[in-house]
């Protein structure tokens, strides 16, 4: 420890830089606009009650409300009743900055909807990827058929093509089919994972042939061998692939940005955050950072809980 002090010094310095934006994001999501502006309040802010101006403005009493409330304040003029009502509104609109920021994040934009979309899109992508890749990988690894080498060569060639790079022609094709601004547009380009096929094929090569022959003896069809024999053996590899796939598509911004325009109904979490940034003014830093925190959190928390699995999954592409 003592001997290595300079190593720890460098590593800690690096860690501080790595953590800084996370620290700021979380901290701003808890503070009031004033504290953010003046840079006060430490990490948590002072959490003094603050009045939400928008909420008060919304409850600005009109003539009818003033008249209706006159009974509650006997002997006051209309003007005084009005003032009393505003004071009431202010009292009810006061809240802690942290609560304010997170409430705003969920009410100013349909954040829950975005999160749900994120889940729908990432899960459908993964499920379809497995449905397509697993049988193909099994065939490439364990079946002998004319043309197999060609198919595998094609898989290796397709590994060269990053989907983001061909986003423009894909977008044109989807637009021609009238599919932009649909869930299909968000999912379709990712349904084929040549990497998944390659990975699973390499994994299936290690599964003993006897296992498959025994299943054939039992009269299982090839398709049921894929799902009832091969799938269970592949669970660890699939889990790693799931993490790889889900992380990539939850965080993806480029593709949704291209095919989803306008309709908030289809926004994925990063698109939602982007829109929030677009129409926010300076006083909205707090709620915006709250939104960012909510979006980043699920994966970070999952990562902290299952670090080994995550590192395995994300670095899968290094297993070639």
């Amino acid at each position: 420890m003592i001997r290595d002090w300079w190593k720890h010094l460098i590593l800690i310095l690096g860690a501080v830089i790595v953590i800084a934006p996370f620290y700021m994001m979380l901290s701003y999501s808890l503070k009031s606009p004033g504290e953010i502006d003046r840079g006060e309040g430490g990490f948590f802010g002072r959490q003094e009650m603050m009045v939400d101006e928008r909420c008060v403005a919304l409850r600005d009493p009109n003539r009818d409300e003033v008249e209706a409330a006159a009974e509650r304040f006997p002997g006051l003029t209309d003007r005084a009743v009005r003032d009393a009502l505003i004071a009431e509104a202010e009292a009810e609109c006061a809240m802690r900055p942290a609560v304010f920021n997170y409430t705003m994040a969920f009410t100013q934009a349909p954040l829950l909807r975005y999160l749900l979309n994120g889940v729908i899109v990432t899960v459908s992508i993964f499920v379809i990827q497995v449905l397509v890749a697993l049988p193909a990988a099994y065939a490439l690894a364990k079946l002998r058929f004319w043309g197999r080498e060609t198919v595998f060569a094609l898989v290796l060639f397709c590994l060269l093509i990053p989907v983001h790079a061909i986003a423009l022609p894909l977008y044109i094709m989807l637009a021609k089919l009238g599919l932009t601004n649909t869930y299909a547009a968000l999912v379709v380009p990712w349904t084929i994972s040549v990497f998944g096929i390659f990975l699973m094929r390499q994994f299936f090569m290690t599964v003993p042939d006897d296992l498959i022959d025994a299943a054939r003896m039992d009269g299982m069809t090839e398709l049921s061998i894929v799902w009832r024999v091969m799938l269970p053996t592949a669970v660890p590899a699939l889990l790693a692939f799931a993490i790889f796939s889900v992380v990539a598509h939850w965080n993806d911004y480029f593709w949704p940005r291209i095919v989803v325009t306008g309709s908030r109904e289809l926004f994925t979490p990063p698109l939602g955050l982007r829109e929030f940034k677009g129409d926010g003014d300076g006083s909205f830093f707090g709620p915006m950072m709250a939104t960012a925190t909510v979006i980043v959190c699920p994966l970070i928390v999952a990562f902290l809980l299952a670090q080994k699995r995550f590192i395995e999954g994300i670095t899968l592409s290094g297993m070639k």
């Binding site: 420890m1 190593k7 720890h8 590593l11 790595v18 953590i19 934006p21 996370f22 700021m24 994001m25 953010i36 840079g39 890749a133 049988p135 193909a136 065939a139 079946l143 002998r144 058929f145 004319w146 043309g147 197999r148 094609l154 397709c158 590994l159 093509i161 990053p162 983001h164 061909i166 986003a167 423009l168 022609p169 894909l170 977008y171 044109i172 380009p189 349904t191 084929i192 390499q202 090839e222 398709l223 939850w250 965080n251 480029f254 940005r257 979490p269 990063p270 955050l273 940034k277 960012a292 980043v296 970070i300 990562f303 902290l304 670090q307 995550f310 994300i314 670095t315 290094g318 070639k320």
Partner: protein, 324 residues
Amino acid sequence: MAVTELSVAAPASRSVEASQRRTGWFLTAPALVLMGLILLGPVLVALVLSFTDYALGNPGFNWVGLENYEKLLTRSTYEKMFLATFTYVVTVVPISVGLGLGAALLITSVGRFRDLYKTIYFLPVMATLLAMAIAWEFMLHPTIGMVNRMLETGCGTILESIWPFMAKGCEGGFPLWLGDQRYAIWVVCFVGIWQGFGFNMVLYLAGLTSVHRELYHAAEMDGAKSAWERFRLVTWPALGPTTVFVVTISCIRAFQVFDTIEAFWPQGAGPNKSAYVMMFAIFEKGVQQNLIGIGSAITVVFLAFVMFLTLIQRWLVERKVHYG
């Protein structure tokens, strides 16, 4: 590969073979169709459209020959595009690979807190890049950002006299960072490095575990006394395959940079287009301005770069490893 049963040619094995052929094609068919439609088709579409003046909504198009490619080579906008892309790739790849290796070496050499450092350095890889880019934008805000506030606290201390940058900043204000053409692309590079080096570190950590202990002893016997000698003679050669892979994947990811730039500058990609990278150009020209021809030409050039890089990597790797 065993094809001996062909010669045996019992009727039973022939029918097994026929059924394997059928199921083989049946099981790979969905993947093949999707590969054709989603990966190979679009590459051809991009190639064809790059010779046209097509736009979405137009009934037809004209062949324009190499005009789109000519524009890429002559217009100053695209000169900026290539400059920004290469600046980014050439900066981010070596630094993030170097930092990844450095972090991996330091972490394996310290006794305590290994897992803690590893976890922290890997956090940016997991986080949504768009969100983190926005966080960095706040950090770099000229007046209320943490970075400039931190720098301001250094004013009036010794730093001011030994570091010209501080002296200048304290006198005339610290940089605008994202609003300043001189810094814009470097800030984007910084965020790219910040986000990517943890990934490289993890790959190097995996590579380091496979270096045999005995090799170090052998090197020591042969007179490699200093840590540097041991690194040069044992560690670095052993990490060769890892390095090839890490460099390639870093390159491909660096070429695809987009989120950071769109988050910082939704329009125009930086002051005076100083961060106008290729993915942003494809998005702006092809999708936003509906100039499909030129967008496709950029796509084709982009694909050429990426494929070229991957082929080099495969060539380097396949001299050692072979897919079984």
